[in-house]
Symmetry: C2
Subunit: 115 residues, 2 copies
Amino acid sequence: MEARRDVFQAIADPTRREILTLLRRRAQNLNSIAEQFDISRQAVSLHIKILSECDLIDLRKEGRERYCHLKAEKLAEVAGWLEPFSRLWEDRFDQLDSLWKEWRFQNPDQAGGKD
Amino acid sequence: MEARRDVFQAIADPTRREILTLLRRRAQNLNSIAEQFDISRQAVSLHIKILSECDLIDLRKEGRERYCHLKAEKLAEVAGWLEPFSRLWEDRFDQLDSLWKEWRFQNPDQAGGKD
DNA sequence: CCATTAGGCAAGCATTTGCTTGCAAATATA
DNA sequence: TATATTTGCAAGCAAATGCTTGCCTAATGG
């Protein structure tokens, strides 16, 4: 145990991604999160623990409940890694876009009014 | 095997992220990629296979070599999932930014020329 | 044609993951 | 105080992951 524990690993699991999406709306305690999944409370609890260890959520104790607050900023790490790649696919998109516009310019008869 | 095979899973592994980064520069064949890692060729080969199954790279056979071409567009899936979250952390960033500017406006003596 | 080079396939193995069930601790409520 | 609710802890387990080594196939070049 005590294995790799980073944001990429954290969002690799679909259940954990769902939990993060849920928390985008509002903070929730463990049980109310667990109710929304078909797996056991303990399974959800483990996911929460992992998310917390990765600093993706903040656990705040309120009485006997523990509220999970999303820390979206942490996902900026993923966005940061993605950024140099995004330039590539956006470039390609731009190229396709130019080709498309050029084609429409050279084929005004087929281009029609819609796009 | 034959398990979950999606982009999130693919980029969860640090070696695979490195491979993708390498391929951003130029397409490379399997062996030249493998040389740049401390693990065995077969281990790298498996990573390549996974990346290919996830449509993150394109394998083109040239003679006895197999060139790996990056398909960056596929990463747009991750960017897409990230997008609604990014709005959250950017909002917070914008708020901090406004606070910062306001502070500088109200403390022109301490603000200095640098930032 | 034969040696070299690029790569695939498969068995084997230690570790991690994701899940379960059972039980204990702490807080809230009747 | 007795009981219900929220959560944590731990053992156990099947499957997935990441890696290795050994051997096989195919294309290239002398």
